[in-house]
Symmetry: C4
Subunit: 368 residues, 4 copies
């Protein structure tokens, strides 16, 4: 890594030490892992020099990042917390695994394989991972029991298969471990075909195993589907709740009304200068501004709408062609009210309907 880069980098990394992942880190992970993959490919041996160069660069970056973070945390007195945190662990491993291996005299090609651990740095950045984890935790009960059933079937089936096939094909079904391998490959419906029963009875057992395979699949999915249904609802509610209370338009409503409004709205985070509504497009939802600002460009003038304002309601009141382009001017959080829910909401809370109606009329006149 060329000298002048370092201070800049240090600064940069320090600035981002708080966040989990920086663009640079993503790039480093991608480049690093791909180079590692290439390194093992003999077809790419003439490029080996370049490749290991890249690997060393990435490693350097990660070591560097790690050190900067350590210092940063130390300053804030959160060092111990960071080191023991999963993020801290992953950083440490990413920085030390390969060098350690090299120092221990592992031959380079093998040592560099450890750089695959860098992918773990991506984990915290995965969207909706929290949600996945929650589902797995809440549904762990049935999931585990399915897994246990899975294992029992595997054991019983493999012993049966071993007993039925060992004499006919001793080389493939010569031991229960071999049969276990067959059972897993079959029950997951992977079916490599390297170990296949040939006796009639053996095949009947196999058929039953495959069908249970479908069953296991089904149960597994069924459980997860159930978990997700409830989880997504919950998630959306949490995201939306506090925004709603910030919108004066809804403040009028009683708490119970707010609760069910919240169930209807969907939150949307948008960067600045993003087109939200394109003129002439089909519209099937309206928007409330929870934070930020949007700009409606009407023929002749541009109108800014700030926190608490709403727009796009025209689409839900009769004419469903969007009348103007609307785009954000700063980072904004919008609440989307879908046509369906709009109808229901209006039905349940006529007063809201009026407010929107009058506002719509006012604008219509204004923009004459």
């Amino acid at each position: 890594m060329s000298k002048p880069l370092i201070p800049a980098l240090a600064q940069f990394v320090a600035a981002t030490a708080g966040r989990n992942m920086t663009k640079a880190a993503y790039a480093a992970v991608t480049v690093g892992v791909l180079s590692m993959v290439l390194l093992t490919d003999n077809r790419a041996h003439e490029a080996r020099g370049w490749v290991s160069g890249l690997l060393w660069t990435c490693l350097a970056y990660f070591v560097f990042e790690w050190l900067v973070r350590l210092r940063h945390m130390a300053r804030q007195g959160r060092l111990s917390l960071y080191v023991s945190s999963s993020a801290g662990l992953v950083d440490a491993v990413g920085a030390l695994a390969v060098p350690a291996a090299l120092l221990l005299g592992v031959e380079p090609k093998t040592a560099w394989l450890l750089s695959v651990l860098w992918v773990l740095k991506v984990v915290p950045g995965i969207p909706g991972l929290r949600q996945l984890r929650r589902v797995l935790v809440l549904e762990s009960g049935p999931l585990v029991s399915v897994l246990v059933i899975f294992l029992m079937v595997v054991f019983l089936a493999s012993v049966a298969e071993y007993f039925l096939e060992r004499d006919v094909q001793p080389q493939t079904f010569g031991s229960v471990p071999a049969a276990l391998w067959w059972a897993v490959v079959t029950l997951t419906t992977t079916g490599y075909g390297d170990v296949v029963p040939i006796t009639p009875l053996g095949r009947i057992v196999a058929a039953m195993v495959m069908i249970s395979g479908l069953g296991v699949f089904g149960l597994w999915t069924g459980i997860l589907a159930t978990g997700f249904a409830s989880e997504t609802r919950r998630d959306n509610f949490l995201k939306t709740w506090e925004s709603v209370s910030k919108v004066p338009f809804f403040a009028a409503l009683g708490p119970s009304a707010i609760a069910d409004v919240t169930h209807m709205l969907r939150t949307m985070e948008l960067p600045a200068r993003t087109m939200i509504i394109r003129k002439g497009a089909q519209g099937d939802c309206m928007y409330f501004i929870a934070a930020g600002e949007v700009e409606v460009d009407l023929p002749g003038k541009k109108v800014q709408l700030g926190e608490g304002a709403f727009f796009g309601e025209m689409a839900l009141l009769g004419n469903n062609k969007r009348g103007a382009n609307v785009s954000t001017t700063k980072v904004s959080r919008l609440l989307v009210l879908d046509l369906v829910d709009f109808r229901v909401l209006m039905a349940r809370h006529p007063d809201l309907a009026e407010t929107i109606d009058t506002e719509a009329k006012r604008r219509a006149l204004e923009n004459k």
Copy 2:
């Protein structure tokens, strides 16, 4: 393409230039792609003449269609819009890809492969595609995170497998790319069997990969199932909403009642002269006419029912054998009210129950 055809075709295509796909276009796509497939099959080499004839015809058709559409759009001043639209792009590719390839001196057999792109013309015609897309968009968060997890497992597993198997089977597990191939084939439970671990440890890793495969499946499906549940409900609501308001029978209801009626009804688009109810059949729903007209043929006379009328209610009031044949006389949109929902609806809105009852009685007398 024989001369006299052209004007007729031109007219025809022009007429349909607005619509996305014409029957002719569907035919052309089918014929074209199939011929392309045949062209590559050596068993069909004696039919080659015919086949390429067909291909040229289809190509001609698509070029022709494209030109007509361009002109049509140009006239309407929507040319730039059309050209930049996905439909316009697909048309252009369909018309130019093969000729371009031929001009660039690609050998014919290969050039014609590009005609597979014609299938893209079918996309806009797929029913419920919009719905699919919406689900994918709304659930993209968790879907992406599952994909990322999928990739991480693939990477970690393949490096592990490479490390464990490379010495035993250097030709198949000789590099991480090869191991990656194995990992994908395994994690998707495809299991070709061309690359199979044989060391005990390698097989244990493989087993874990397969089981995670089930997990990925499960998560994926769970997410999509959830998305669909809400999406279908929404979709149906939108389709039904405006029809409902058109039926005077429901107009009586307050807005909130309408909202939940809408949740109960299902819209049904029918061509003219379609049998809706067959005499003597089991009936478990009633119909409201949102648009069009139906004909009830009672013994002796035929009764027409127009917009806003309802029929089939007898089946829900006691006797569930259909009393007469009913069929559409023109293209009609019907709202179907299921027995289940009928009960609930009647329970919630006794007034509706009466209206239906009296009407039913009136008819019973009339048809005495």
Copy 3:
């Protein structure tokens, strides 16, 4: 088939001509199909005589059954209806296919293969088939679009694969049809392994195909899961509705209450002399008698309960050990009220709670 059997059989078949399937018919189908399977197996050639004997017997039975039914229907003047019905068709095919083939000089071993069509006779007897069909019909829209997407991926992938692999492995990827075969095998994640890409690019395409395979799976299942959720609810409601109204206990309730009671109850059809409640068992539901009769054997005496009565309520009121054995005396239809729903119901309709309470107390005293 020995002579004396015939009259008896005729009578028997006639008696059951109305029903779709008789036990005898099930047996005949099973035996017939299995014998057909055996017939083709060379290991069983010494048993050939027996096997074809069985086949002829089954065939005779089906012909016989068919004739009896024809006569039966003819007498009732429903002949044409029957012949054109799917059941009639299946019967006809079952009776005529094999003989026809034999007469046309097809060699026996092949002709008998047609006896596999006998399995179609089972279709009408499949439980919950109606429900399956309804789901498929209602969800046909998205299902078809998934299928279309499936086919498009197959086409695009196979052409790409053909282009990439044809030079390296001309014998397997030598034509697009061959590549199509590969694509289907891969996209369904079946993965025979008879056709496998080996070029790096080819494998990348393949990997994408497999992942789309998961996607297709997921969509498919998601759609069906959604359909089922609503369908099962509907089904249960229909089954339960009329029974509920027959139970005086619920008659007291207003229509809207009945509607939501119906959503809570589950119907259960029981043959005579079936144990419903076992003394000492854990109880988590109570029963209402919609039709038939049950017998409670209390210490010393046996109490009969007829239509409209309820029992098992003790389990829901405090002590959840069943106090006595209860079994049906005749064929009965029971409505099961689950503990969960019991709580909710009692909460919503305190009057019901009282009725049950007082009755419970009365019985407690009585059985002192």
Copy 4:
């Protein structure tokens, strides 16, 4: 098994005779099955002595356990009940299968295979198994019909395939049983690749079979997913119900309110000395103590909260950082109220909101 152990063990087993599985039993099952697996592996032949030693030990343990249980049950006069119960059967088989086999002169290596039956002892210990079983029972209708359809497709497809392929590859498709094997392997999308159609027609049939495979998958999963959705809701309700009524805080509510509170709460069983809330963590739920006791360690003092008390409410009232560590002091059952449901609940029952608010204020002051 060394002498002195026995009395201790006897006592221990007797003590636990009531429960289904003891830790010791789990260990014995694991060790036993693994040794059995090893026994069949030739690579482990030098360890054979050890392995069979272990096997004999486990066997001894199970025999011993069985006898102790028999005596225990006999004393309680529940002998016949136990023997006829599934648990009793499994115990008997586990104790007698192997010895019986050995006595009957089966060669040891084979006889010991029966020790795989020991895994059945794990069944009663599987979490959520009851739930799985209920789902399978309730949905059995559609599940069976899918299975029947599965079998019909298998039969029809295999006969078709046999007819199409028998002449080309007599060794693999030489008989319908062979074709059946192919059909099952294909329809479950296992695809070993040992039997693969090669004729064009055969491949088209195969493709259709694979696609139906996806369908079967989808239906199966759809059904199970549906079943689970309702089952989990029910399960949680049952677990929560009685706890709720024990919490004075909710006793205030009317029965209908209690019913819907119950739907919102989640029960959590915790061992003693378990950390529930970690200071500074993100909080998104509050807890009610249904049984047991927890300890809040505030700066300076530790506060005990007993049955009926609640904590963690601060997180739901504004500041969502946990203010103090909370951990159980004895085995406790907590009711978790999620942020989402908290909002809804508060909205529906303002009085509850107040109670919590005031309490929260009181504590805030107190802990000043």
